[in-house]
Subunit: 256 residues, 6 copies
Amino acid sequence: MYLGDEAWPDLETYFEEESLALVPTGSTEQHGPHLPEATDHLIAEAFAREAAERTGYLCTPTINVGVSGHHRQFHGTMWVDPPAFREYVESLTRNLTEHGIDRVIYVNAHGGNVPHLREVGARLRQDETAFAIEWMWNESIPDLVDELFEQNGPHGGPKETAMIQHLRSELVHDDRLEEARDGGIPSVDAAGTVKHGSRTFYDAADNTENGVLGDQTDATAEKGEEMFEAASDQLVELCEWVAAREFEELLPEPHV
Amino acid sequence: MYLGDEAWPDLETYFEEESLALVPTGSTEQHGPHLPEATDHLIAEAFAREAAERTGYLCTPTINVGVSGHHRQFHGTMWVDPPAFREYVESLTRNLTEHGIDRVIYVNAHGGNVPHLREVGARLRQDETAFAIEWMWNESIPDLVDELFEQNGPHGGPKETAMIQHLRSELVHDDRLEEARDGGIPSVDAAGTVKHGSRTFYDAADNTENGVLGDQTDATAEKGEEMFEAASDQLVELCEWVAAREFEELLPEPHV
Amino acid sequence: MYLGDEAWPDLETYFEEESLALVPTGSTEQHGPHLPEATDHLIAEAFAREAAERTGYLCTPTINVGVSGHHRQFHGTMWVDPPAFREYVESLTRNLTEHGIDRVIYVNAHGGNVPHLREVGARLRQDETAFAIEWMWNESIPDLVDELFEQNGPHGGPKETAMIQHLRSELVHDDRLEEARDGGIPSVDAAGTVKHGSRTFYDAADNTENGVLGDQTDATAEKGEEMFEAASDQLVELCEWVAAREFEELLPEPHV
Amino acid sequence: MYLGDEAWPDLETYFEEESLALVPTGSTEQHGPHLPEATDHLIAEAFAREAAERTGYLCTPTINVGVSGHHRQFHGTMWVDPPAFREYVESLTRNLTEHGIDRVIYVNAHGGNVPHLREVGARLRQDETAFAIEWMWNESIPDLVDELFEQNGPHGGPKETAMIQHLRSELVHDDRLEEARDGGIPSVDAAGTVKHGSRTFYDAADNTENGVLGDQTDATAEKGEEMFEAASDQLVELCEWVAAREFEELLPEPHV
Amino acid sequence: MYLGDEAWPDLETYFEEESLALVPTGSTEQHGPHLPEATDHLIAEAFAREAAERTGYLCTPTINVGVSGHHRQFHGTMWVDPPAFREYVESLTRNLTEHGIDRVIYVNAHGGNVPHLREVGARLRQDETAFAIEWMWNESIPDLVDELFEQNGPHGGPKETAMIQHLRSELVHDDRLEEARDGGIPSVDAAGTVKHGSRTFYDAADNTENGVLGDQTDATAEKGEEMFEAASDQLVELCEWVAAREFEELLPEPHV
Amino acid sequence: MYLGDEAWPDLETYFEEESLALVPTGSTEQHGPHLPEATDHLIAEAFAREAAERTGYLCTPTINVGVSGHHRQFHGTMWVDPPAFREYVESLTRNLTEHGIDRVIYVNAHGGNVPHLREVGARLRQDETAFAIEWMWNESIPDLVDELFEQNGPHGGPKETAMIQHLRSELVHDDRLEEARDGGIPSVDAAGTVKHGSRTFYDAADNTENGVLGDQTDATAEKGEEMFEAASDQLVELCEWVAAREFEELLPEPHV
């Protein structure tokens, strides 16, 4: 069920019976010469809508702009600073609970959002407002991703390329995949910016000229579809697991 | 041009030549028994995309959740508290300026966002970061709106109904228009909650049972289209006016 | 009863019997070549004291400096930034409740304070701390104001001029009323700064050379007195209305 | 010169020639059974106005409510929390500098405000916005105060009693001076709440039943007048000293 | 008992039986040419550890960097701004209460921390989280300090010199005591920076060339030891006094 | 060079010649039944001091309490909330730059601090205040750690056990190593709390009964020494690398 499409009286039954919401969180940021800036929020939204459709759980509209300051050097990257992101997500989630929601899955497709969603989630759980956790599709199918690609990226690599080829093929510049690969680097290691155990970089631009990693020519829409199906299965199972718990089970352990 | 669809190298020319961005700001909140909760962000996005298409100026992805705490009593209303909204919008706008943007039009379709967009805009202008102003479609065509409807609403009234009938007719419950009218009130005055010059209400629920105002049966998709065209014309002209100014012209007046 | 004049033991009975306080909120800002910078806080204080005297309800000392950044270009305008104002008023109001006050009328005479008083009031009501509402004298007698003046201003216009002529005539430069009119503009519309439905101005100085609007020559102390009496009546009635309610009646509606 | 009384064009010359402002800061809080809650802000305002009158320097309207949470147990005490006070004063002072003010004397009559005014002043000086310092009348004439009274208080004692007898005798309950003395304590030491070098109290109510200290029967309007004259002389000299400095002289020392 | 040395199961009994913790708070800042920058946190830690050892109460690790911006002109001074200090101490203290601690003594050795510890302590007591008070060793033995030294300082004077001579003699440059005295000033009064009752200085560098006050040649390790013993006795007695109270006794008085 | 031991004049040369500081950041938190709560800050301090001694670079006092809320269920864990930690570290670092420091290595021994140190570091670099990076000893010698232990932990495992056996053997309960192992879990995977790619846990207590992971019986002081030497070498090299750069080299890349 997609909250945005519904009139308020039609949501009453849902809130009486269920207390789970899926909140898609993405970013709008450079994804190399071949992928659209919307990549992450398109992926987040697609997974959240798919899982909502399959399960009947509620999906909300998407948070399209996240914590992407580390891509600032590339045209068009949009971002909010970490405190603004945390405050926005926390406020949005707290307010959702006024309708009876007490568990949230942030269907997230941007790594830069993760520590902030975790920080917010920890606070909401600690004060017993809600059990809110973050899920990223690729974390749910690590073996399949490794099997499909030699160098999967992460950022703007074949994994994300294949996913957009599947979801919105018209937005992929297929004729730039080689350029994407040749202008980027295979992986963060290749940049040599981890020195003696310390990350000496903060921005994507410290590591790569065109903003991306991995071998994009390895991507196909078929691989994208296979991953989408597999990860959607995982998200569906996560939804069922979260929904099946008593709220008390999801709260922090007591002091020893 | 829609930022979300573009790969970063394809935005370079725009940022070299132009410095205007359209940022759609809406809400996700109850709009009565007949309209979807997405109403305001759908409208904001439609206008911003239309103007961007007609003019070539840049449109960003939409901020879907705004300041709607005053609709909290109705199922599904989502909101962030005012400080979170202001911080999110301000951070997002400041960061846009790193690409050369120095003027922003918030294409806004939710009244509850207005004072906050004004507060943010005043700050950004005062410190000479950007000239950011807020535009609402209905404010740009007051005469036409008055001409088309006896009681235009505002919230969830025939004006917004007609607009969604035009933009996303499948999301309107046309069979509930009478119910919408009969369960609501003609206008805020009818609620009698302004006492001796003071607004004694804070929430929509203080004034109306079903969350809406006006006579929704007066709405048609044709009226929606007429308003959409007329207001889009206005937005296009505003874009041209803003874009044609020197940045200095847009800054605050000097001290007398 | 004026709180500032009382010794603490003499307030005990009041707090046992009543729970309403009037808090005057004004500004210190330019009001044209003819009116004193204190205009707004003088008016706020006069109304609050008058109503307190007539009814016996408690009036507190005045907040003399408010949100007036939009008058910054004119000598002597004082202001605090919106977050500072909100935090100050909210803290002051919350703390008043420790004595048993649970309802507050901000007797306000400065339009720039309104959205901030509303934001604070909404928060205080939502968490059931207090029912705090804002009242402006001119909003309570719109018909009389319209009847008395052709062009009432608003800022620094004949309406406010007449009020200060009545309250503190020695502070009005009667010999500058024509200058005030001729150096200003009749109304905001005359400035032409609303473009295609968007306010492209933020400051008074964007619209007017001398900071004021309307025809000041139309003002007399008699008109001021008439308005003062009429609006004081309204405020008294508002006090009685607010005081007569059960606290529960003043709280937010429950979720539908 | 009192800012509140002036129309903006009449302030132009001042700001061209001078850069000092006196800002009265007080409190509204219990001062025992015999003194009005306004005591501190009345005193602050009286000194600031007097010095402004004698010297021609600019005096602004008064901040009537300060940091008085430690008097919360007594009816009618008003206060804002420390962060709100600091933010309000800092914002007000920063904004004053837009007219050319670069030095401010907080004419303060409430001890509870002192650390906060010092914190704000340190910040403003460090970033070279303004040189803002705090002055309390009794600190300027310690010998005279000691000479006039055996037990001067401080809070609500004979020192403050005499001052209000001089400034606003109608607000003093002269018939309660003995009651004030007998229901209070001679000095903080008498409360015995400093234990082994640590202040174990936070509130006035931890130390005294009626909120005051010292022997109020020792107060007379004549003593008040004497102190008022003497301390006003001091304030005038401070004004002249501050005004005579180059701004650079008032800024922080360079790093060694 | 020192918390840092213990494994968690070994703390269980303590938290079952006791609810007091000693938290050492110091600074890292210039203390003249003869004393180490660690002076204040070394002293704070020594007293807290000593009292914990003598009494069995719990001592936590030390907060080594405090509010020392007023020493910024001297090499090596470290500091955090006041809001950061307050937030850090308040958060740390609140979180301690999750183990059953409800009373805290900040064993403090830096005057610059005092108003901030008091502000935090007042908040924690007011919301009934904990009774947290600040103790400084020299405040507990004023007569002895006066007896031992003609000019005790305060900052970097003979009092602190003697203490470090006792605690960490290898860190004192005994050959620079005369230089310390001659390059500094006897007391704040000598600087002449209190003008007409107002402190016109903010930084140590406004008053003294080498950062210290008093006659350091008057210091000996024996005097240090004597003071250490005497003040430790006081701290032990304070611990016992605080521990012996019912929590309710330590909370704010009710409203009159 | 250890800042805390020095008198201010003795630091002058350092600040003239060098601009690097090592800031140890740790935590005070449960480390199982066998290790002291000080574990992380002892390790951080030991490495920072060692590297400072070997290279001559400056080491500051330690931040002893960090972000450890996820260990709150175990007696004695101390922590500050993430915003307090970030603000404290950021303020401390900014202020260090007033002496000429423009690069900082946070010698960190607590994983929970990492995202916050990275957030602060990113901000400081972005506004060109300082280049501040975080280093953790185990990240610098991953191969050696893997070679020495089958199951290295991480938290409270053999890796940290061996390190404290080397640094402060008297604080290790060697007789509880089996208990530590048997009461904990081999690794986070064993807890089964990552569900379908999502971490459903927030606290250590969600995963383990006694708070630790790995096989502690595998630890020896010799292994600790070997790791200490190897990681110290890495830190020394990192210091040299950081110190050898021009400041401009360390700043963000320009916009493409």
